[in-house]
């Protein structure tokens, strides 16, 4: 944590500075007139519906919402919302959104991106945005495949993945997006699933209210090129054992009949165990604390995600801590400079101190 008094409120809200709506809003107002062009059954529909349903509840003016996306299927998102939006270029949305957020504290800025967009071509911008903690919200639609270019493996595809560009199977080791974000010391990191509208909405709301960068990985199904990549989390037969639910202040317990739990295991790491096998039973379980300052804890949680084909992963808010936001500090320096030196006098500046006059 910073030891400098930055004059920021102690409980920053992600929406501070954004004008409140004067009248109640409804979902329809947020639906644009553009025809949605994702494939039938695409997980993006569910996320869009949840988003359109959730935005009116935020209670901010619609014209003060700005969406910035990159390139990929999910990056068409802004076209379908009647807010301000920019569909930019591949991988660069976090950089563009940084300029937007710095220039305009009165906007709620959202970045919509995918696994290829954010983690491959735009990986650099993603990690730097996260470490700076710019006040913007990043929704990473992870379908573990390149959809728009018709089915090449992505940086989150499992090893051995056979695609058009990997006929003998991919030899790439994939990224775990949550681990990556935590490695960059992101202040808000969460994971949710396209099909669980309630959970998705709750995570989005928490992200909106977080001051700083909120990073949300959304497991999103691509029925065309990577169907059932998240089947373990959706199939009623397997999902109880697959989803490790993270609820702040509660023991991390899951599985059919709640038989499984997360315990500390060795140096800075966590493990899943049968509760029946634990010496003190449930008392040995980790109580989830998303406010843990050291990102190592959330990182350890993120490592409970399978590296290859997904059978098990924590879902929920891994980390949510208050740090000063980059754009607030940048603006603060401008204000401090004006206060201490006065509003700039450009004529005096260009004249400088060493002049001579020719008569």
């Amino acid at each position: 944590m910073s030891t400098v008094d930055l004059g920021l409120p102690s409980l920053p809200g992600g929406l501070r500075g954004v004008p409140a709506a004067t009248e109640p809003q409804n979902r329809k107002e947020y639906v644009s007139d553009q025809e949605v062009r994702w494939c039938p059954g695409c997980g993006d529909y569910a996320v869009l519906a949840a988003f359109q349903g959730f935005l009116p509840e935020l209670g901010i003016k619609r014209e003060n919402v700005a969406m910035v996306s990159g390139i990929g299927c999910s990056s068409r998102f802004p076209y379908y919302l009647s807010t301000y939006g920019m569909h930019s270029i591949h991988g660069r949305a976090p950089a563009i959104a940084t300029g937007l957020a710095v220039a305009r504290p009165d906007l709620s800025v959202w970045v919509v991106t995918g696994d290829g967009d954010a983690l491959s071509i735009g990986g650099n911008h993603l990690i730097h945005t996260l470490r700076r903690n710019v006040n913007l919200k990043i929704l990473l639609f992870n379908n573990r495949i390149y959809g728009l270019t018709k089915g090449q493996y992505s940086p989150t595809s499992e090893p051995g993945k056979v695609t058009k560009s990997t006929p003998m199977g991919s030899v790439d080791n994939p990224f775990n997006p949550v681990s990556l974000a935590l490695g960059a010391e992101a202040t808000f990191v969460a994971r949710t699933v396209d099909s669980d509208r309630k959970h998705l909405t709750a995570v989005l709301r928490a992200a909106a209210e977080h001051r700083g960068t909120a990073f949300v990985e959304i497991y999103q199904n691509c029925p065309i090129f990577n169907d059932n990549a998240f089947d373990a989390f959706k199939n009623p037969e397997t999902r109880d054992d697959a989803i490790i639910p993270l609820v702040h202040g509660e023991p991390i317990r899951f599985g059919t009949d709640g038989r499984l739990g997360v315990v500390r295991d060795g140096f800075a790491s966590l493990a899943v165990r049968e509760i029946a096998s634990l010496p003190n039973g449930e008392a040995d379980l980790v109580i989830h604390d998303a406010h843990t300052e050291d990102p190592a804890y959330a990182f350890a949680l993120s490592r409970l995600t399978d590296a290859g084909v997904l059978h098990q992963a924590p879902i929920g808010i891994f980390r949510s801590v208050d740090h000063p936001a980059y754009d607030d500090m940048v603006r603060q320096q401008v204000e401090t400079s004006k206060e201490s030196q006065g509003i700039g006098d450009l004529q005096a500046l260009v004249t400088g101190s060493d002049t001579w006059t020719v008569n």
Binding site: S32, Q34, K61, R62, E63, N64, A66, M67, V68, I71, P78, Y79, L81, S82, T83, Y84, G85, M86, H87, S88, I89, R92, A95, I96, A97, T98, G99, L100, A101, V102, A103, R104, D106, L107, N124, H125, H128, V330, R331, Q333, V334, S337, K338, Q341, G342, I343, G344, L346, Q347, L349, V350, T351, G352, D354, T355, W356, T357, V358, N359
Partner: protein, 659 residues
């Protein structure tokens, strides 16, 4: 000490002086101070810093030599001078590295302290050149500057190493005396620069004074020189470098438009000083973002423009390559964006600290698809201010990225600048759209983001936060007026042509031609930083009786409306460039005029004498004079100014620093 020899004061009309030493010797600072003294005295001046890319190349080696050349005069001048009249060499490497540029008869002031057998051998001298007679064609003033510096700062109890570091100030003091420069500003400067380190401050001031007094009292010199203040247009002047002028111009442009400025930039030579200067100007509503890379720099700037600020990014060629895709997005989004390319020698990493103007075709065409954008170029260090204001005007008025071309020579070089009155600069109107600008089929008011001003073809620009005007823009092809995604063939053709027509239609002032009596048959046309050398070359040709017309382009896209006509009214058009003929290619393609390209890419500005020769030859060739009968070029190239500068020592040399 009482003088036994009286000092004569000689008048000169101009002097070229070069300070050279190790990169760690503070030669740039010394040159800057001498420039400030010279500027405050009222001479016209032009400077050329030249330094290695390495911060501290090994001491005493040829690659580690750093130099600063200053040309000052009692009349208006255009270049930092082809060749120095005086070289101050702080060590053997500095002497060796610079000697080839120094004409015979010029003066060499040499610090002898480092002329040891070992140091000499290291740079390939078998014997001491001060003793072999190989410098007989020069006026050599060997002085143990380091020894005398150490002696002069004894009382401060510094180590020998620290004490000797003030030798640049000793040398500055001496040449300040020699050319009768005012010294107060340098003392004030040292006071404030070293305010926190009193012993260093006092030692530097003492060394500076000691150097000055050495000239005054030591009988080493019998002559001082005077270069009278220049006769310049009335007004108030200051000295300014190109990068500083560019930074101020960007702020002025933003202020005249009433917009905050957001700079997104990544450190790169020779553009970083613009980032540094703008970072100091937060109280002018300037926000600077040092981005994670070049792409993020331009991305943040474009995001800020979308937000309704003036987005600016600054870089050099390699960075512009990385920014290309985002600049193309800016072309499609039709948002204001100022992109400054401070060119350096390429390709690839090239020679980062050396100058070149080989990015012209890159900025004109280096994007995918038909992605036209305006290009402007500064012609002198001070002109960087005006060109930045002009770029801002075009960017905001026409909603387009604009490229500003400068280069390493302009960026680091400096010249006197008549300070403009900010209030008198034209206002720039962002003309934000705040109300619906059309109606839909049902007669309801709507906002069409790509509805255009019929005059300028600029699109209607509404910024986030404007109620009722929410819209989505992006890099996919736009439907005319609505800005919705469109794959319609006819629409694409229309939009391509419309974006081109918008850039082609930008109002640009006509090209002015300097053709004194209107009878020249040959025109010299340049762009960018060659303005000074071309002007100086033309003057030489005119002095020896040649007729020559000169014009210089500040607008490269679109070209001035009368350019075609101008080109066709001369028998020959010479286009000198620090590239392999990029402007020449554009002119041939657009106007079908077979211009004569003169191309030099050495990482250094073109020389006035070399250009004079080329121009003179072309003038005679055009007049049908045979090769062997030509003389104009040679005469113009060999023109010398007044009397050569001989610093006459009194024959009282104490090469080993007896004092």
């Amino acid at each position: 000490m009482n003088r036994t020899v009286t000092i004569e004061v000689k008048q000169l009309d101009r002097v070229v002086i070069r300070f050279a030493g190790d990169s760690g010797d503070g030669m740039q600072l010394t040159g800057d101070r001498f420039t400030a003294e010279t500027a405050s005295f009222g001479n016209d001046l032009s400077t050329l810093p030249n330094f290695p890319a390495e911060i501290r190349a090994p001491a005493g080696t040829l690659p580690g030599v750093s130099s600063f050349q200053l040309h000052f005069a009692d009349h208006d001048i255009l270049t930092p001078g082809d060749a120095p009249d005086v070289l101050i060499a702080m060590n053997p490497a500095a002497l060796k590295a610079n000697l080839r540029d120094v004409p015979r008869g010029a003066t060499l002031i040499v610090d002898t302290a480092d002329f040891t057998a070992r140091n000499l051998k290291r740079i390939g001298y078998e014997e001491n050149p001060l003793e072999t007679g190989e410098l007989d064609a020069y006026h050599v003033v060997p002085l143990n500057l380091t020894g005398m510096t150490v002696e002069s700062v004894k009382e401060f109890g510094l180590t020998r190493k620290d004490a000797s570091r003030a030798k640049n100030m000793y040398a500055l003091g001496l040449v300040s005396w020699l050319f009768q420069r005012p010294v107060e500003s340098t003392i004030d400067f040292l006071q404030s620069k070293f305010a926190g380190k009193p012993d260093i401050r006092d030692a530097n001031i003492a060394a500076f004074r000691a150097g000055y007094n050495f000239g005054e009292t030591a009988e080493e010199f019998s002559v001082r020189y005077e270069v009278k203040p220049a006769r310049m247009a009335t007004g108030t002047y200051r000295n300014i470098s190109g990068n500083l002028a560019l930074a101020y111009g960007l702020v002025a442009g933003a202020q005249r438009a009433g917009l905050p400025l957001v700079l997104g930039a990544y450190p790169i030579t020779p553009a970083s000083d613009v980032l540094h200067e703008l970072s100091k100007l937060k109280r002018f509503d300037v926000t600077t973002i040092q981005a994670e890379d070049e792409i993020a720099g331009v991305g943040a700037a474009l995001g800020a423009s979308f937000a309704g600020a003036l987005g600016v990014t600054t870089s050099s060629g390699p960075g512009i390559s990385l920014k290309s895709e985002t600049i193309g997005l800016g072309v499609m989004l039709e948002l204001p964006l100022v992109v400054c390319d401070i060119q350096r020698a390429g390709p690839s990493t090239g020679m980062p600290t050396k100058t070149e103007q080989a990015d012209l075709l890159q900025v004109m065409f280096g994007r995918n698809g038909e992605a036209p954008l305006p290009v402007v170029a500064a012609q002198s260090p001070a002109d960087c201010f005006a060109i930045a204001v002009e770029a801002t005007r075009i960017a905001i008025t026409y909603r387009t990225p604009v490229i500003v071309l400068s280069d390493g020579y302009l960026a680091n070089g400096s010249e006197p600048w008549q300070i403009p009155v900010i209030e008198n600069l034209p206002k720039i109107d962002p003309n934000f759209t705040t109300e619906p600008n059309s109606t839909n089929d049902k007669g309801e008011p709507v906002y069409l983001p790509y509805l255009r001003d019929p005059e300028t073809l600029a699109r209607a620009w509404a910024i986030p936060g404007t109620a009722g005007l929410d819209h989505r823009i992006g890099g996919l092809e736009k439907e005319d007026k609505t800005g919705n995604i469109s794959y319609d063939p006819a629409n694409h053709d229309l939009m391509i042509r419309t974006r081109q027509a918008k850039v082609d239609g930008i109002t640009v002032p006509p090209l002015e031609v300097d053709d004194p009596d209107g009878t020249a048959k040959v025109l010299v046309l340049g762009w960018g930083s060659t303005y000074g050398p071309i002007g100086a070359g033309c003057r030489r040709v005119r002095k020896v009786g040649g007729k020559i017309a000169q014009a210089h382009l500040r607008h490269l896209n679109p070209f001035p409306p009368n350019l075609g006509e101008v080109l066709k009214s001369y028998d020959k058009v010479l286009v000198p460039e620090m590239n392999l003929g990029q402007l020449a290619m554009l002119l041939r393609a657009k106007y079908l005029v077979d211009v004569v390209s003169y191309a030099q890419v050495r990482g250094m500005p073109l020389g006035a004498a070399e250009l004079a020769e080329v121009i003179g030859n072309l003038v005679e060739e055009t007049a049908g004079i045979d090769d062997d009968a030509r003389h104009l070029g040679e005469a113009a190239a060999n023109l010398t100014h007044g009397e050569a500068l001989h610093i006459e020592p009194n024959g009282l040399h104490h090469p080993e620093g007896a004092r």
